[in-house]
């Protein structure tokens, strides 16, 4: 359980960018690929591969987008990053832009975080003054600048195609993939979208190398992860852990007592009972975009189900029928569980509907909205159906 914290550390501004200019673009892509860095927003797509694909796309206009639409219930680590070390995020974006050949970067900041905007604009101004953004950055031939675009309170816009629609001034409805944004994204130009935390890792990997990064974490989950811990713990907050940390060890760090259940991955994640606290947080076992919510023995599981399903009913954009109607069906099912009126047959139906939603919804919202419900049903059946 090494304390490996570096993501929230301050760095010497411009150092990584300068180093990047000394290496050729293909080599940086290889270093990131070799490091095994995967997207920190939840989906875990290999960042190096994304860079390669977007870099290889033939277009004179490309975009780098930082997904700061942190909306998953229980996640607040991107907020903490943007409050403390935004310059590192922007430098990561600049390096990425240099590699793929983009001139414009956009931070899509969720409307709920509007109060962070002024501070971020300040940081950008400072970087422009120091020639870390703007024309001919640090004496090179590379031009790049970043603007901040404000979301307007829609969870689904955290999904990259929905986010792009929103940036185009439209309803934030997800689109079918392919085409993927790396080949046809914002205004049909190749676009690389990554999470705030992912961009934060890039300057470190560029300056310290892939091997340094691979020494942390597990085989398929290299590096560290910021985890937002909330709920029934004495010390809520952001913890940087090495991938592979056991749930029970994280609970110890946050000083959780009398823990009954832990939600990992927010409303779209899973809820596990004490018997599974030996499991690990990693892409191999339980992946998470950063949300861990702890419930002690006084909590009723049906209340958690209800809160999560109401969340999805509210946030489903409604374009895919299985998601729109399915979430409603699940909210009704929670009511029946509360009244003790749910039948075995209805539970079987719920599982079928859940599979259907996974298969036929366009985006991650519909595909994952029943995860927590089904895991609670599996892990706490006796409590729910007694």
């Amino acid at each position: 359980m090494p304390a490996t914290g570096f993501v929230l550390e301050r760095i010497k501004q411009g150092e990584a960018l300068k180093k990047a200019f000394e290496i050729n673009r293909a080599e940086i892509t290889d270093i990131i690929k070799d490091s095994g860095l995967k997207g920190r927003g939840g989906a875990g797509f290999p960042t190096g591969l994304k860079m390669y694909l977007c870099g290889a796309a033939a277009d004179t206009i490309k975009y780098v987008i930082c997904n700061a639409d942190e909306g998953e219930p229980g996640t607040f680590k991107d907020r903490v990053i943007l409050e403390t070390i935004p310059e590192k995020v922007f430098e990561g974006m600049a390096i990425t832009a240099y590699v793929i050949g983009a001139k414009e970067g956009i931070v899509y900041l969720r409307g709920e975080y509007e109060y962070l905007k002024a501070g971020l604009e300040n940081t950008l101004d400072g970087m422009r003054k120091n020639n870390l953004l703007g024309k001919k950055i640090l004496g090179s031939n590379f031009d790049f600048d970043i603007r901040i675009s404000l979301g307007a309170g829609a969870y689904v816009c955290g999904e990259e195609t929905a986010l792009i629609e929103s940036l185009e001034g439209k309803r934030g409805e997800a689109k079918n993939k392919p085409p993927f944004p790396v080949s046809s994204g914002l205004f049909c130009h190749p676009t690389l979208v990554s999470n705030v935390e992912t961009f934060c890792n890039i300057p470190h990997i560029v300056t310290r190398g892939a091997q340094w990064f691979k020494n942390m974490g597990s085989e398929k989950s290299t590096g560290t992860k910021l985890i937002s811990v909330s709920g029934d713990v004495k010390k809520p907050g952001v913890y940087e852990i090495s991938f592979g940390m056991k749930v029970k060890d994280l609970l110890k760090l946050a000083e959780a007592e009398n823990t009954k259940a832990v939600d990992i991955g927010g409303a779209s994640g899973i809820v596990i009972p004490e018997s599974q606290f030996d499991r690990e947080i990693s892409f191999e076992d339980i992946p998470t975009g950063g949300s861990v919510i702890v419930f002690d023995k006084t909590r009723k599981m049906v209340d958690i189900m209800e809160n999560f399903m109401e969340f999805f009913l509210d946030e489903s954009c409604g374009q895919c029928t299985p998601c729109r109607e399915g979430t409603r069906y699940f909210v009704d099912a929670v009511e029946k569980i509360k009244d003790g009126k749910i039948t075995e047959r209805e539970i079987k139906n719920l599982r079928d509907i859940s599979s259907c939603m996974k298969l036929t919804s366009k985006c991650g919202l519909g595909q994952s909205s029943t995860n927590a419900f089904i895991s609670i049903l599996d892990n706490f059946k006796e409590e729910l159906l007694s």
Partner: protein, 162 residues
């Protein structure tokens, strides 16, 4: 911000001129323009949909369609101060329901409603990303955390005279 029950076409046109002196008419700026209008008037109405549509060269229905998608672009009359109390689980565990009750008492309307003087609208919001400092609420773009019913009432009172 001026919130009144009646917003004239002239006011809307003036404000749009003002906003568009700083923003160009790329479709990508539509959301930003609508956000500015909400900041000024508190909500979006038909006149705004028509006028914004004219400027951007899109149908008013399209403008309405976009606005109605987003929780922060209200398309019905809404108060000057939008109080959004987080309803998501981490805040709920820390008794966010009591905060709602306290605010309901203080402003005299129930959840989902606007006060008669058009000053406050009380809404629920999904996760505000303040789970480590729960319970939390937003009033317009300001965030308030680690609330107690008393603290929430005090904050609301400070807005009454604004």
């Amino acid at each position: 911000m001026t919130v009144s029950s009646k917003i004239s076409k002239k006011e809307v046109i003036n404000e749009l001129d003002n906003i568009l002196s700083k923003t160009n008419l790329d479709r990508g700026n539509l959301l930003c323009v609508l956000e500015e209008l909400v900041r000024k008037f508190g909500y979006l109405n038909d006149i705004m949909a028509v006028e914004v549509g004219k400027r951007f060269g899109v149908d008013p229905n399209e403008v309405y369609s976009v606005s109605s998608f987003y929780a922060f672009l209200p398309v019905k009359k809404s108060g000057k101060y939008k109080i959004r109390v987080c309803r998501t689980i981490s805040c709920k565990l820390k008794n966010a329901d009591n905060i709602v009750k306290a605010i309901e008492d203080e402003i005299g309307v129930k959840f989902g409603n606007t006060t008669k003087d058009m000053k406050f609208t009380l809404e629920r919001a999904n996760c505000l990303g303040m789970c480590d400092k729960a319970p939390a609420m937003l009033i317009n773009d300001k965030v308030y955390t680690e609330l107690t019913p008393e603290k929430a009432k005090e904050i609301i009172r400070s807005y009454k005279n604004k």
